[in-house]
Symmetry: C2
Subunit: 211 residues, 2 copies
DNA sequence: GAGGTACCCTATCGATTGATAGGGGTGATC
DNA sequence: GATCACCCCTATCAATCGATAGGGTACCTC
């Protein structure tokens, strides 16, 4: 309380670089954004960036890790769980969407850039996430909770919605994150459930317990 | 039949540029793709590109027009139509998805790049498409066909799915375009319909008449 | 107060970018 | 056979890219 400013607005430069870079990457693309633009947004000179990150690629790399890290843990835990697979999918979806909405960074560019050959080393964790999601869908189809859709296509549709939500919220702190999360997760569940009237129970059960 | 090769494999250079550029743009991004890479893929030298297009930007610009042109016409016609709004939305969706699947170009990059400031002039037509889609959703909610969801959010979810499908098919001629179109349109309709049992009627009616 | 660390600066590097200048070959038309 | 349009070439441009070199200043530790 002595040396610290009471404003508490003090955001470390490294943190500001990640925020501004993520914002620019998603508006203009990774390759379309120069290190000079990032530096200007952070209000430092361009070479000063390289004091905090060894290269431009490492800035993007850290954003990818932030995006993939916790999501894959939650998805894999839910995929390996017991009980209603539809409920477990709902829980994962609500958690992931809320995470996206609350994130300080604009992670839009992440899903676009992992397909770029220069970030090929980041694809493994992304693939693990895909497998976990598809597993939950297949479990729900086998148990009769979901209609008999193409599990691959359904998983893709879910990713597309998540990816779109990332682009839409775009790093701005969404005040009603939980509302958006429930709305989108309900949209997805309604498209998949054999009996749409079960959605009420799932939403009630999903909002009680922790993931 | 005299001067023409019987192989009929003769694809004009300009056409090949559009195809290869669209493929590269979606894999590496617009800014991440150099004119030298495009030229190499087309098997000509880099300056020869500029005989067919005045600039790299004009190549992307033409791909954007291809993507937005017919889609907006079909969407606006269906939005202004009469009768079941759910059916009209289904017809538009099936047409658009099938169009995406059959397109010779990989239009993944289009939806990403229209947000880039340098393509700001292309945003008007994209906005018209958004309005037409949201209009159909609002009509279906008002008539009681759809559950009372947030029309903005539903429209976004649809775009995200369409965008994802574009990225997924990625310019390769999908053999079962009509099957994929019906599956994805059904996914969306099921998520929105108040009475899911109406989907059968809509699919039957949608496959008979032309758009 | 000497040494070390953290952070930012100016100046500049080599590589790559999109685009232009200008020449050459081919085929159709008159 | 002269002309012209079409298409592709080599050579090269200025601008911009990511990254490095090296110096200056504030602050902490001993």
């Amino acid at each position: 309380m002595a040396a610290q400013e009471s404003h508490e607005e003090e955001v470390p430069t490294r943190e500001r670089i990640l925020r501004e870079a993520s914002r620019l990457f998603s508006r203009k693309g990774y390759h379309g954004t120069s290190t000079r633009e990032i530096a200007e947004a952070v209000e430092i000179r361009q070479p000063s960036l390289f004091h905090h990150f060894p290269s431009k690629r490492d800035i993007m790399s850290e954003l990818i890790d932030i995006d993939h890290g916790e999501s894959s843990i939650v998805a894999e835990r839910q995929a390996a769980g017991k009980g209603s697979a539809a409920l477990r999918l709902y829980r994962y979806l609500v958690w992931d969407i809320a995470f996206i909405c609350r994130c300080a960074y604009d992670l839009t560019s992440v899903e676009l850039v992992v397909d770029d050959p220069i970030f090929a080393d980041k694809m493994a964790k992304r693939d693990a996430l895909v497998i976990a999601r598809r597993s939950m869908i297949e479990q729900a189809i086998d148990s009769g909770e979901f209609v008999s859709v193409d599990a691959d296509l359904a998983e893709k549709a879910i990713v597309w919605i998540l990816r779109g939500d990332i682009a839409d919220t775009a790093g701005q702190a969404v005040p009603d994150a939980d509302v958006v999360a429930d709305q989108l997760a309900s949209f997805i569940l309604r498209a998949l459930l054999e009996d749409a009237s079960q959605l009420g129970e799932i939403r009630a059960a999903g909002s009680i317990t922790e993931v």
